[in-house]
């Protein structure tokens, strides 16, 4: 049962968990990207360098769990799982914002990264066995990743994924760490 007295704010835990989640998922993405750039475009949809990502699978889902663990550890509180789900949702939202900001900071630090990745992908498409028309259509689909609409759309998709999985991990986190059972 939830403590009746006013509970301390969970925002500290949300921000720490969001920052960690954003740093980890962005780092995995950047390392995978640079490893891809270090290989020759082979015409495969999936480069062997991306295998690195297999050990990072679902790591972005741990934010909600971590935030609940941190909140309970710092404040010695118990609460219902609905609050854990809410904490997870906020982690998904704030981690999305942080990952967009970190991505933009990285674009300032290495302005050629995005363009190099696009050029690698175009060379990779050219090496694929596919109809010329489909290839042209695919290449035309490489819009400027730094345009506001693309950043906004990518942030929305990231939030849908991160938001839902962190709500679930927040529920589990509240059940495991904050339950009186």
């Amino acid at each position: 049962m939830e403590n009746e007295q006013v509970q301390p704010s969970y925002w500290n835990s949300v921000i720490i968990a969001s920052l960690l989640t954003a740093i980890i998922v962005t780092a995995f993405s950047l390392i995978g990207g640079y490893m891809t750039l270090g290989t020759e475009p082979s015409g495969s949809f999936f480069s062997s360098a991306q295998l690195f990502g297999t050990i990072g699978c679902l790591i972005g889902a741990l934010g909600g769990l971590f935030a609940n663990w941190h909140y309970v550890k710092e404040n010695q509180v118990t609460y219902k799982i609905g609050k854990g789900a809410l904490i997870g949702l906020f982690v998904g939202l704030v981690a999305t914002i942080f990952s967009v900001i970190i991505g933009q900071i990285w674009n300032v630090l290495d302005p050629g990264y995005q363009q190099a990745l696009i050029e690698w992908n175009i060379q990779n498409l050219e090496a694929m066995q596919m109809p010329a028309e489909a290839r042209e259509q695919a290449i035309a689909g490489f819009d400027d990743p730094n345009s506001l609409s693309n950043i906004g759309l990518q942030a929305l998709f990231t939030f849908i994924g991160l938001g839902i999985v962190n709500v679930i991990s927040g529920l589990i986190g509240a059940k495991v760490f904050a339950s009186e059972e």
Binding site: G53, C57, F157, G161, I172
Partner: protein
Amino acid sequence: MEKIQAHNKALYYSILIASGFLFYTALGPGLFEVTDFVYYSSWQYQVFDILCHQDPVRSFDISGIPMAVCSRCISIYGFFFIGLLSLPVIVWFRPESQKKEMRWLIAAILLNLMDVFGNYFEIWTNTHISRLLLGGAFGITLALILKNEFFTLNKSE
């Protein structure tokens, strides 16, 4: 007379809908018979872009198009959704405390970690089926530890 009592109904239905949507999205663009060469830029792929490695070799496909997540992840999402749907029935058969489910969850996590690292360090090679089974075990035990938060079995005279 035994009767199942539901709790936190709004939260249960919200999580059920959200996890159903997640599973449906994870099935990928093949569900809509998208067969062009740019399936990997579909919205389903972008939703899971930072959550899964999306290696087509390690994914099931629908209509020849790889799902938006790998075989382990689709199994986690699928079995979590099925587990949530089945909670009222499961509570009927296993109404007791969830300590056992917690042990099963820890075992499922350890087995999945062993499988991932064993494969990564080339000690063995996992398959679609092994990833499906281990991911499914993780997904279903995740749902099971939530059962008494949403349903309990009440015994009345």
